[in-house]
Symmetry: C2
Subunit: 303 residues, 2 copies
Amino acid sequence: MNEQEFDRMLTKYADVVVKVGLNLRKGQKLSIRAIIDDAPFIRKVAESAYKAGAKYVDVLWNDERISRIRFEHADPETLGEVPNWLLSRYEDHYQNGEAELAVYSTDPDLLAGIDPELIAKERTARAKKFEPLRKYENVSNWCVVATASPAWARKVFPGLSTEDAQAKLWEAIFNSCRVDLPDPMQAWYDHRDNLIKYKNYLSAKHYSALHYKAPGTDLTIGLPEKHVWQGAEASFKNGITCIVNIPTEEVFTLPDKDKVNGVVSATRPLNLMGALIEDFSLTFENGRAVKVTAKRAKAICAN
Amino acid sequence: MNEQEFDRMLTKYADVVVKVGLNLRKGQKLSIRAIIDDAPFIRKVAESAYKAGAKYVDVLWNDERISRIRFEHADPETLGEVPNWLLSRYEDHYQNGEAELAVYSTDPDLLAGIDPELIAKERTARAKKFEPLRKYENVSNWCVVATASPAWARKVFPGLSTEDAQAKLWEAIFNSCRVDLPDPMQAWYDHRDNLIKYKNYLSAKHYSALHYKAPGTDLTIGLPEKHVWQGAEASFKNGITCIVNIPTEEVFTLPDKDKVNGVVSATRPLNLMGALIEDFSLTFENGRAVKVTAKRAKAICAN
């Protein structure tokens, strides 16, 4: 893909995110969380959002390297410090029913070698700080998308140069997000209709349980009697319906919390906010995790 | 300068900024305003600050390109929109006597071609929003420094590649900031003592007026009877004294606002928040500007 073609694809991707993912309403503000490596994509999103009538595009940039520098050099006693303005920014946002885009492209090895106790301390403090935000559940349209950051791309395509690895990862993202199709918007509306068909089919079946079998996995998940299947779209209190994950292929429902039994094993690494966890398994008895095995069990337990 | 040498200089520069420029106190939070291109330097500052005992380094990143995209594509009616959280962030900052670093490396052509009326509208709204911050004057230590951003470097060294231009501009910054001396800290303390000597000398002279003569300039500035000269250091209500501009070569005093007469002409372009103003002159009569000439007079008048 040459530079011009890549630019065209990035523009189409941004349009999919703003129109299908967020379904941004004219006059809404758009809040974005991104890392500074995401700048080329975020600029496209900002342009698309302003063209769609956004009142303001408010980008909260983060630099992952500085997050790591804090763990490396700050006095551990200070890791509970979370700025007040972050909370007021979100409260203002939710109270006004604004749109929110979260862009994920975390370096999978960002916190490699950092003491999990320190990571847990920082995360616990943030979670506690943001507790007042729980009451704003489902107030406004949001969307989560991914970008091909250099670090993530290098991890996924280790044999290639950073540039080639990023190009490959972008191709995979464009493909999975239907951006490479002639009419991505229509493709998404068709896909949404398809997922709605599946979720309605499953809801109508009233299954009593799901049974998952695979190497290392034998798990039974009981379902509540009146469970319903969800997927594709979500609707919010500000009246907007949108597709909150780009891409999404899932339909999902709620388990009966007391009827989960068996073992589930991960066959892919899990990137938990910069800590990579591999080869882990969870054993459940009546909904309680009774055993955890993992290469980095400490990191799992701390979270 | 090879990569390793550059890294060493950037580390020394960050240390000068944290120790001499901010005189950061152990346990202080440090708030930083920077553009995302500044990341390599800001990471060094964060490391230096945490090593000096900073409680938290809070970087407010901005992307200049998105600032421009707003002017290009947003509904002009929305340009008065300024997020509330920006104000609460600063209020929190000042109320707690925290340290603040502003990093300037603006693209001199950032807003070229944008209607000055739109720029004025956005700036007026910001100024109005931040009015409540005026009461916090001199509460806490701050510092302003520069970095060699790609756009600024290309403007200053137009014949070179971006990479070479940045290297040249960094060299100039390291030199003017005494970072290339064997002991930059001591060099700054010596320089400060020197400036203090000059300001005391000038204060003792009790001059009645300053007369500036140069091509295009013939300006007389009357001084109040009890004027004093300042420079080098500033002291703040949180008890910290520091050198707020890195670099600084100036000593300064207050004019008598009714006793400024004559013409002053700019011989260098002025970068006013992304709008470049060239070849401008101001004519004063008894302290009032009675005539303004400029290539972009509209932009000047709007501000």
